[in-house]
Amino acid sequence: MSRAYTSLGVDRIDARYKVTGKAVYAAEVAVANVAHAVIVGSTVARGRVKDIDVRAAQRAPGVLAVLTHQNAPRLPGGAERNKNDRVDRTLQVLQDDQVVYDDQPVALVVADTLDRARFAARLLDVRYERVETPTVTFDLRSPNYAPPRAVRDTTDSNHGDVARARGSAPVVVDATYTIPTENHNPMEMHGTIAVWHSSDAVTVYDSTQGIFGVRKKIAHVFGLNAKNVRVLSLYVGGGFGCKGTPWSHVVLSVMAARAVGRAVKLAVTRQQMFSLVGHRPHIIQRVQLAAGKDGKLASVEHDVVSQTSRFDEFVEPGAVTARHLYACDNIRTSHRLVRLDIPTPTYMRAPGESSGSFALESAMDELSYAVGLDPVALRLVNYAERDQHEGKPYSSKSLRACYEQGAAAFGWARRPLAVRAMKDGDGWIGWGMATATYPAGQSPASAWASLRADGTALVRSGSQDIGTGTYTIMTQIAADALGLPLASVRFELGDTSFPETPVSGGSRTAASVGSAVKQAGWQVRQALLALAIADPASPLHGLSADDVDVVDGMLLSKTQPSRRDSVVAVMARAQRPELVARADAKEAESRKPYSLHSFGAQFAEVRVDEALGSVRVRRLVGAFAAGTILNAKTARSQFMGGMVWGIGMALHEHTVRDLRSGRVVTRDLADYHVPVHADTPDIQVVMVPESDPHVNDVGAKGIGEIGITGMAAAIANAVYHATGKRVRDLPITPDKLLEVPV
């Protein structure tokens, strides 16, 4: 089958709508007679709601309802998480008087305008009792416990004899690295509009990475048949993990709509984004690398401690990468959790890989100085040809080419080994690098394709496009599978009435939905070929299916190209208004014998102004090998976007909680810093060609998250190279670079 459209850098198909303001996001859907709901959050982190005086709020103009735990309806499914569902969460939806984190929902005000609802929320008099001083931070002395799993892998691992290897190694690096709590802060805050159609059927417009998860949650909580719950999410203004599972506001909007008998819109505020919708947990990581004088690793130890809430468990699997990334016979890793009076963390762009790679790649950089080796050379000395942890070969691994091509694009060969070697006026220049990696996952997904008699096609899959380019690459895959011009194919997503797909997370949508779309398109193509071959009036009559290709709406024989027939003609003669197929794509069998990952190499140049403590990234190069690149344009944007996240992780992002009250202090975009235009230099992305026949039907490995992995370390390593100052505690802000005598 020819691959005409995939791998081309065609313009993003939805770009036209986004640049003209025509793309409609969840809270913008025009629903008649919609009322506005506002969540009222607690001002204590640990206690009980004693009483809420709602009278002033109820009397305020325009107020339709005030819901509290005292009058909110009892939810059949309750607020507790479904223990049989690994990703389900316990929500705070007014079912009891407990307060378990600061700014937890304790009331909901519904009014006819947004301003009236917001102001009425101020009129509530909430009183608390049994308020206790919360514990909202931890260190390595805090009591911790071992969770049952570290997401997809075991909590601990232990290969070989780490203690003996470390004991006899000439060089040991033993360092502890810290990343603070971070918040996703997509540009679009969460928002939900709920519309009840009858007493047991509801439509929900939601900003989510997982419409099927939202449907499942609502059905469970409200005791509804899932068939009567429809969730739509046509455009999502970023997610990065915080829209991966439904949070309390989704249930509350549905509850409110039922209570007031009207459609209800609930828009989460930017301040609420810091407590209501998950975060990347504060994580402390100890890495111990023992090596010979030649840099060959004798042992690797990576111990992770992170935080979770008192009521649910979330593990940031920071040590999982160390299990396979570098060849070593003795590797020990562990994950431990500390329970705190905070909301439950959640997946945040490359959960585990981005945080873990900061520690591992910083430690490798420290080792490179200890043994006097160039950082890239050290990586090559320890290159892993196979995945020693899983005991399998890699399905493909072009990491050497990534190091080579990235270094060449960057000019790495000119790098002096010594620190403080490149002065630039008031500043110092430094160059650092790190390895990037992310697993190439695939989940079951389904798609439906319909070829029309007029030669156009409609393809549907209930997936999401959170800025990743799903609309575009699926259209390309479908066009190729069907053999139609790109402009003849329309791909639709974001509706639970479409075939089911996994959440848009974990960099697996291209692999999963792509496979389903390809298979559905391919099935339609086969049916079309069968029609043509069986039709005596067709020039293709009697040929074997293997001999017939379909390109841009034309069927033609590969061996005798003059024998051809158009799609439209075939359908007309067969008197078929449409050909339809549905594919339920499973995880490809070809994957089973292999360990499947994408890899990359990150290179950063920084300029440090020591007196002012400022770090500016001057240029970045990322070289990545991620199998077949489905669209060069959108792929470059994905890689680049991840790299910009790495700048934020390294230099800016830090959610601060007041240690006495447990309340977030940095609760807006002026106090929580994400990179701005001026922080972001030219970024060069090198896409290393790679072909992987095992990874899945479309050959793609998923690229949404690899861009952030290794980047924070590359920048921190560059800062060290510039100044000789090793910062192990992110973000690298001026205070950390300025020496202050105590």
């Binding site: 913008e28 009397r59 930017r270 944007s637």
Partner: protein, 350 residues
Amino acid sequence: MLPGRRAGRDEGLERSDCPTVVALFGEGNEPFADEREREAIRAELRALGAVLLALSPDVLWLFRPDDEQQSLEPAPRAPDGGPPALFQQLGVVPERGRPGLRGLFVVDGGGTLRFAHRLGHDERITLRAAVEAASRAMLLPAAVPAGSSRREFLLASLLTGFALAVADACAPVPPVRDAASLPQDQLDLTLQINGESHPLRLEPRVSLLDALRENLGLTGTKKGCDHGQCGACTVLIDGRRVLSCLTLAATAEGSKITTIEGLGSPEALHPMQAAFVAEDALQCGYCTPGQIMSAVGLVSEGHAKDDDDIRELMSGNLCRCGAYPNIVTAIRRAQKEMTGTAADGAKGPA
């Protein structure tokens, strides 16, 4: 736990920093003549940001304007013997059988006596009239004291202390008890948006952003923070790029407003929009309308000479997807087309 009182939800009327109006009555159980007088005084107090302490020799009332009046009986711990002593110290003689206002004093939040009037024997003034006079007096800045003297100073301290003691003894109540008594204005406005007139009836507090998104169905302009920190809500007002979340719809009346919808359509893209598409200067698209409107403003401002300038002058527009490098390329490209000038300053074909 943090020190200090439990937070009231409305901090606009700061408690001990607000002025106190002290009204002394000859006798009586009721400071207000009728409901109309009470509401009129409520309005005056609200405008002053003040609380009213009304006392007769036997009874004490505290009246916060956004609250019901509270009667405190018997009088709480107050310095030196309660109301009768205070009357004496203030030089007001309460006479039995002579109800009505006998004295009115106003002390501001800084402890300065701003108004003092002791009624003469035959003088009759309603509480309302007295409070109105006091309001006018409050317009005089504190730097110009109304006859300061040691006695006045002591008086002011006395009153402030008394007022604080009284207020402390009162049960805490939600500061804004009755929202229905706050202004209920609606404005009739006409907004000129993308060359069209839009009549609206709105509360004054509605932002231009909310008017666009909630009242006019123009959802192209996005809300990313609602506090002027992200730039997603950028529009052009009379050709200048500004934030619609921090602009009242009422203020925007009479100006030419341009939103993303007015720049171009999917069939006929503005050069900046076309450049964003071609350079993939977007991903999730939520910051995109704000980036584009801001970029159009940037080009017309004419201060961006190179990529570093573009980056600095676009820094008011956050992009969490990290499309920044492509945005800069798109702006450079469109700038060339829009001005006929290359970014390095050389003139090209128009």
